[in-house]
Structures are given as structure tokens and as C-alpha cells.
Symmetry: C2
Subunit: 628 residues, 2 copies
Amino acid sequence: MCKRALHYPQVETPPPQPFLKSLKNTLNEILFADDPFRKIRNESKTSKKIELVLRHVFPILEWARGYNLNYLKSDVISGITIASLAIPQGISYAQLANLPPILGLYSSFVPPMVYAIMGSSKDLAVGTVAVASLLTAAMLGKEVSAVENPKLYLHLAFTATFFAGLMQTCLGLLRLGFLVEILSHAAIIGFMAGAATVVCLQQLKGLLGLSHFTHSTDVVSVLRSIFSQSHMSKKRPKLFWISAMAPLVSVIFGSLFVYFLHAQFHGIQIIGELKKGINPPSITHLVFTSPYVTLALKTGIITGVLALAEGIAVGRSFAMYKNYNIDGNKEMIAFGMMNIFGSFSSCYLTTGPFSRSAVNYNAGCKTAVSNVVMAVAVAVTLLFLTPLFFYTPLVVLSSIIIAAMLGLVDYEAAMHLWKLDKFDFFVCLSAFLGVVFGTIEIGLILSVGISVLRLLLFVGRPKIYLMGKIQNTEIFRNIEQYPQATTLSGLIILHIDGPIYFANSSYLRDRIGRWIDEEEEKLGKSEENSLQYIILDLSAVGNIDTSGISMLEEVNKILGRRDLKLVIANPGAELMKKLSKSKFIETIGKDWIHLTVAEAVTACDYMLHTAKPDSPEKISGVPEFNNV
Amino acid sequence: MCKRALHYPQVETPPPQPFLKSLKNTLNEILFADDPFRKIRNESKTSKKIELVLRHVFPILEWARGYNLNYLKSDVISGITIASLAIPQGISYAQLANLPPILGLYSSFVPPMVYAIMGSSKDLAVGTVAVASLLTAAMLGKEVSAVENPKLYLHLAFTATFFAGLMQTCLGLLRLGFLVEILSHAAIIGFMAGAATVVCLQQLKGLLGLSHFTHSTDVVSVLRSIFSQSHMSKKRPKLFWISAMAPLVSVIFGSLFVYFLHAQFHGIQIIGELKKGINPPSITHLVFTSPYVTLALKTGIITGVLALAEGIAVGRSFAMYKNYNIDGNKEMIAFGMMNIFGSFSSCYLTTGPFSRSAVNYNAGCKTAVSNVVMAVAVAVTLLFLTPLFFYTPLVVLSSIIIAAMLGLVDYEAAMHLWKLDKFDFFVCLSAFLGVVFGTIEIGLILSVGISVLRLLLFVGRPKIYLMGKIQNTEIFRNIEQYPQATTLSGLIILHIDGPIYFANSSYLRDRIGRWIDEEEEKLGKSEENSLQYIILDLSAVGNIDTSGISMLEEVNKILGRRDLKLVIANPGAELMKKLSKSKFIETIGKDWIHLTVAEAVTACDYMLHTAKPDSPEKISGVPEFNNV
């Protein structure tokens, strides 16, 4: 059967809000989109409130109560597993950052503890990451040589870590987590791949046992420096195959190999002595004196943002598998605290590396306790087992890094981007090329810049298309998408697909003019079927500013002079507010603003087939048209 | 009567386009939105083609043929009128730019000629403008003193003009006219007001006959420097009233006054001798040697962009009154050429000042010939009448400038902004304060930065609201805008009001989750009226990138785990392309993508009141629901 709408509702203007109220709402939407304090707000008892707040700040209070023996079992297993990965990886990445190997172990002790208390992810395994390590080396290395001035370099690394942590905490506290989102998925893919390529090339140093190696991170100089010494590269090719094997195994075998063959005397570089004992305090080593403080600050902020982006992305994806939520801003505070405390205890920048977290997840971890287990295991190693690493050959570490890096070059993902969205692929590519042929910062700036440019282009050039009526229905749609949709004689329906702002208002004015010109050219100058109505479907116009409003007024004037009538369909709440404030509604007449396109078309149809009265009131209630 | 839709069309995926083709279309939309070459393209004969191209480049060929005596009459009248304004104003503004007064006359001779040939506006009167003059003084003055080194200062002014013209021409040729649109209307209002305030304060110098005056343009130092010499300000208050009178009259009276009373010997500063003869060539004076070339370049670009923004805005608004079109990019080329030739003939930056063009329009000009008439009148002055200006007191020029400036402070417009759009008012205010308390560049950067931030915020935080069914209709709308709209049990309809990009995808994911949480809290855990369907209305989602697609996939997974079904309504062409490429459509099932919200609701309704089959095919064609 077919319902008849006896009376047709008008387009409503929402009730006006006091300025401060609406401002508050806007800010809430920007900063507290996920409304994290809902529970706490709804709670009446103060004591309960405090408890909720504490639980909010320290998630451990949340899950510790439900903790049981089975959980512990699985957490211990996974904890040991990631420890066995963490130790060699930690040492390798520390090398990558031109820092003493032992720092890799230190960084797997304190930060995981902190995260276990404050972090809200159950699967994230804390540790250092290759990209951040490389970035530290690249940025600090530019001004302070790790070889000539190791002490200062080390202290700057701590300071950078401190600033990174501080920045991360502040971002979290200020609810500015969304700033991290400026690093789009596409950008990160390209960035990782580029970094991985550079890292691998850098590692050829260790792998081929090259001395005097370039520290600059761009392919050209790296390759040059390899081939200039390639005569050495024939030295120990057989060792290369070890890189295929699992990190710990290769470390053990490598160490045994060196130990029994005394290979260290035949030119194989080894780690050498690692100082026994857990993290020494480093809070007194932080450098806050110019000129170095600015360098540390810059390094800290860039590495910190990157680490944040990776850590949160990793946490989110695993949370999705297990269907629990992660509050980005809370995570930032957790990351920030673990880096601040880290910088006080001889650790450098840590986050949630993908590889380690994946292992943790696959080993069946249940809670952040697995991080604690790993930390304990590492502590034990620091206290008693460091001598075992004396003979570990650097080449093994290089192989470990390369193995890890190759996993970062996600060729399929890039192809996927190309298939789905050419622009995203372009962003990804520019990040990759920027990193590989320029510096890491260049890659970063390029990709972010291009991504932002895209957003601006969307607003600057909104789509505006012709709508037609789909046969046998009262539905109006884009005639390019629905070829069977037909246009009507005497009027054209234009759909604007985006907000109307200063950046696009004159474009829209020109474009509308052009649609009309083209239509009139098609029709020719014959009288009976000439153009009379322009219907603007504003359903998709989210917002408008003053330039946009004056554009509409302008268009209305121009149409008036061409004996065309402007008709508006389905303006949203924001628009109605501003259009009524600006008296635009009075200007074109309230009866020419319709709830749906179909309604507008009916009104025009009626006019077209009768004499032209001033307003179509008498028929503004036609039942059978009720769609957009 | 009531049409019945016998069969319901599916949501269509537009036919795939080859990458290069779609790229070409996109670029066309960005750069050739107004399709300027349509006529030329459609023309077959080559000779005609060439003629059309020439006419396109030199609009004078367009209108010269239709030119007649009546036109000439009105053009002569208006030409003389604007000349009488141009001469004193030109001299005043040259003073404002710390340039020799005569340059003001030179700049009203060559540029108008060039514009008459290449410009497409009939009402624009070419000349120098206060803001650009002030800006030149402020920027050049920072590094080169016009007092100590007038020659270099003068040559740098020419060079800056040359660069400005070059930049304008390039912008036009590269079709980058839209870049000027980044200066929003609101920003310009605030900017003008700020500049006017500063100029007026600067003019108190001439008005109060102060010597040793500050050249810095911020209020604080200007005021300080006034009050430090305020004892002089009692000197000639009566002269102040002249400022009310029309420029030329005040110049004449002022000059006579000085002449007969020999006031120049009593401390009134006068113009003094103006060199006879028309523009001397200055092409050899252009400075292309560092360090000054960069200064000139910077000045040229900033002043050039501002001049462009004003000139095009003025041209557009008068074109609107007389209902003819102006091609922004063509105008830019015209402005650029007139400034390049200007810089070769001892002129500084010119554009289409509002005041002068308004006079031109009111005097009834018909074509750009009025510019030629003005130019001739100025040339005659230069050749024979310069001695008359010997006695013109500077105080008169100051009054003229102040009178002109006060017109630029558009208080009503600012109030209008506040009423309509608080954010635009904020932009305007920041521009004003930036100029008044900082420098002109600060005001510029502030306002542009904030305007762009707004665009990014729109994309970063799209509105997402709950839709309800409007009683007695099948229309679904925002329940905040239409309070009488009612939600349905068992499902919620969410409308996303903007594109889905990396910058907002995780916000949208959180927000959707929050809508669902809130709804389920409302419903409580009762079984029969529990939530089962989430309908996403994508009508207003103009575009989506890969991050957006993975967000949708994520949401779908999450909903799946909560036993909720995701239903899509009315995705646009772009979306359908990408969703089908990404196999998302297969994932949620083609039958769960509907052409309209009402259709989606019917499908869900049907499901709700029967057992849950896999797909609602059998009813995907319900007649009485046909709207969004």
C-alpha cells in the first residue's frame, strides 16, 4: 500500500544556541570525541569516583583483580618468548643507533614495567624499534659524532628520549592524540619501507665487516661507500646464511663459532664486554644546555611522534583482533611516562614494536604481565648472563636487523594502495623516495605535506554534479553514477558534494555558471523548452562560511538577471542557521527552500505548466514526491 | 496519484576509467574549472582559431569593434573624473611608500594603458593602493632607509614591482588563480582595517607636521613617537578640517593657501618641485644582485599577492553588478603585464583600487577606455601642469590618505561576520590585531593560518548525527534539526557529513562506537528491543581513502563481534568505485547496500520481524519507501 503525507514538513532551523555553549560542544567534539569520562561523570559517590579515576589512570587496577593462574601461565610463556627475541634485537638496534649494546637490554627492563602499570593494551610488547634507532643515529650523528664524542652522544640520546616522553605525555594530557593521525597509513607504509631499505644498506657495513663507513642515511652515499671498499666484501660470504635463522639461535651459534675458532682474531668484530648489573641512573646526565638542547629537542619530538604512531597503530590492531578498546590519549600518556622514566634509567626511546608484539600475541599472552616477565628475564640476563654475549659477532646482529627490516618492506600493501587509491600510493611513494634518496625528515615532510594538500584540495574543489530522475522511482541521483537517470526539461538539479568555504566559493560560482551555459547551449534558444529553474541540492553541504553565503547571494543575483529561479533542496542544520541569520532565506523566498529534491521538482513542474505566480505555496504539500 | 516502483534499482558502480584519463579530468577541474577555451576548441577553421586566441589574450579586440561615440562620451567623462582623483591620490600614496611623489603620477600613466589592452573588466580603474604602498615602505624600509639611501630604495621598489608582476603573470599562466582565494573575505576585511589604522596613525606625522617619525608600522611605536612630540600637535589644528573635502579641491585650496601666505616659510612642509615630462625608463635600474634581490623578491611576492586579491575582488564585484564574467587567471596576466611594464617605466606596484574603480563606475564608464583617458590626462599633467603642485602642502595629502583610509575600516562588515560566523570573525580579528600590534606579515600569516586550520578541522572532525523518521512521511533527517523525527527500535541510522580520510577515520570509528554504546545503554539489556542494525547513510561522504576503507572494514568487524549488522545507504560514485575494488562490498554483502535510507530501513524492519536469513533479497524492491 502507499502512505500519503497529508501535510509536508518545512525545512527546520534548529533552535539557536548561546555562543559559549556551542563553542564548548565543538571543543568537546574535537578533544573528547570518545567521551572517556562518561562512567566517572555518571558515578555519584565520591569514593567510587576516585576509585574510577585511579582505574582510569592505572589500567592495571582494572585487570589485576580478575587475574588468575591460567593467565599467569600463558603470560610467563609469552614473556619468556619475547625476552628471547628482545635481547638480541635490543643489542642490534642499540648498535643501529650507534649506542652501547647494553642500552638495548636496559631499554627492555624499565619501560616494560612502566607500561605494564599504565598501558591499556594486553598484547603490546615494549621495546626499541629500528626506525627510531636509525632516526636517532641520523639526527644526533649530524652534529655530534658517536665515535669521537661517545659520552655527549649518549647523554643527548637520553635527553632526546626525555623530550620524546615529555611530548608524548603532553599530547595525551592535552587530548591532542589526533595530531598523530596526520601520519596517514599510506605515509607510514612508504616511510617504513624507505627506512628499512636504508637500514639494510647500513647493515652491509656489519655484514661485510666494512670499516670507515658513511653515517649519512641516503642510498647514494651508502652505496658509494660500499663499492669503494667492495674488495673486502668477498671476505666472509658464508656467514651471510646465518641471517636466515632465528635471532637467538644465530646469536648462540655465532658466539660459539667465534669462541671456538677464535674468529675475533681473524677480523670478525664482536660485541666484547657488556657491563654486568641493571640500569644505572642517568637522570643527572640529561643535557639542558644550548646548543645541544635544541638538537635533543628536535630529535626527541620527531622520533617521539614516529614511535607514537607505530605504537598506537600496533596496539589498536591487536585490540581489534581481541575486540577491546584502546584510548589513544591514554596510550600516549603511558608511552610518555615509560620514556621519561626510561631516560632517567639509561634507556633510549621505546615503543610497541610490531614484530615483538606479534610474537607476544602469537605466544598467547593474556595481559601486560608478559611485559613484566620479559623485563625480569632481561634483568636476570643483565645480572648474570652478560658474559655470554662477549663473543657474539656483530655480523649476526646485522643479519638480525636485516631480517627484521625485510619484513617492513610491505610490497603488497603498496600495490593495494595503487589499486585502491592512486593518491595514497603517491603519498606512500613520495615518503619512500624521500627517505631513500633524501633524509628521513624529507620523507616525513613530503608525505605529510602531500596528505594535507589532499585534504585542502577536497575542500578547494568539491565535486558538483548533475542529478537525474531514476525511472519508475522518485529518486534523484548523479547521472554519471546512474546512467539510466534522466534529466527533466526546464530545470537542472545540481548536487554540491562538500562544504562551501572561502577556498571554493568562487570555484563553485564559476562551475554553476558553466553548468547553466552548457545546458542552455544544448537547449538552444527555443522558447518553450528553455531553462527556468536551477535546483541546488545542499544535502551534502556540511558547513558554510560568510564567503560561501555571499557566493550564494551572488549566484542568486546572477540567475535573477538571466531570468532563472534558484531553488534550494534539503539544507542541513548548520546551513539553515546561517542562511536565516543572513536573510538569504527571505531573499529567495521561504517557499523555494524544500525538504527534498523531488518536492522542489514538483514545485517547479507546477510552475512550468501554469502561469508564473510569485510563490508555489498552494502546492507545497504534494504527497507522491517524498525523496531526495 | 501515486507512482509505484515495480523494480528497485541497485546502487551503481560507475564504469571504471583509465588512470590517466581520470587524472586528466581531475587536473582539468582543478586548473580549468571555468573551461576558458571551450569556444576555441569548438572552432574548426584555423584562421578563426587564431583570431579567437588573440581575442582571448587581448580582450580589447573583443569590445573595440562594438565601440561607438556614446561609449566614448561616457568614457571621457569618467576618465577625467578618475584622473582628478588619481593625481592627488597618486602623489599621496607615493609619499606613503616613501617614494618620490612624481612616481604616483608615473604609475597612473603606463599601467592603465597596458590594462586597457589586456584587462577584461570594464569598470576597473588602475592605480596604486594605500595598503601595498604602506607594505612596500614597511618591508623595504626594514633593510634600506629611504632617507639615507633614496636611490637604492627607489630601485628596489622598481625591482619589487617587477617581481610582483612576474609572479602575477606566472600565477595566471599556470592557472593557479585559486591560490589567491586562500585570502578569505574575512581575512581581507580585518587586514584592510588594520592597515588603515596603521596608515592613519602614520599620517599623523604629516598632519601634525612631526619630524623624526618612526617608520615601524605597529601602533605602539607610532603612538609613542607621536606623544613624544605632542607639544607640536597644537600647531595647526584648523588645517585638519580640510581633510573632509574632496581631494582635488583640498589640493587646490591648500596650494593657494600656501602660495599666498608663503606658509612654507612658517614650517608647513610642501611637495616642492616635480620633474616635468613623462615616465623615464627604469629597466636598467632593476637590482638583481644579492643581498638586495631577495628583499625585493619577498616584498614583490607579498605585495603582489595582496594587490592581486584586491584587484580581482574589485573587478569581480563590479562585473557582478553589470552581469558580465571575469576570468581570474586572465586578470592576473593583465595585472602582471601592467606591473612588469610599469617596473620598466618608473612605476611602482599598481592594481585596481576600490575607491577609484567605484568612482569610475559611478561616473558611468563603459569600457577600459576610461583608463586610457585617465592616462592621457595624467600625461598632460606630467608634461605641463607639474609646477602647479609645487605649493601643495603635505598635510593635505595626509588628509586625503586618512579620508581614504577611514573608508577601509568596515565596522559593519566585521559585525556581520560576528553575527553570521564566529570563526570568520575570529579570522578577521586576528588579521586586524596581527597588523595593528605586530607587522603586516604577521597579520597575513595569522589570518591565513587560521583559515586553513578551519578547513583541516572540517575534514578532521566531520559531523556525524543520528537520523530519525519524520512523521507521516518516509523521509529520514537529522533528529536535532527536526525534533519531530523519531528513531526506530532495533536499529540506529548514522549520517556522516564529510569525506572519510586518514585524518578522521579513527575519530569516526570511536564516534560510531560511542553512538552504539549510548544507544545500548538507553535500551538496557532487554532482549526483545535490543539493537541489531547500524545503518550508515553515506550520501554526504564525498570521498574516501585507504585509511577510510580500512576503518569501515574495522567497524564492520567490531559490529560483527557485537552481533550487530552494518548496513550502507546511498554511497556515491567515488565510494562505490573504491568499496568494490577493496572487496568491502563482498564482505558486508551486496544486499546490505541500499539506494536510500528508507530502503535500508525496510530491509532491516523485515529482518527484525522474521527469522534472520542471510540476505533480504526477496524484499529489495519495496515500493512505498523511496527516499533518503
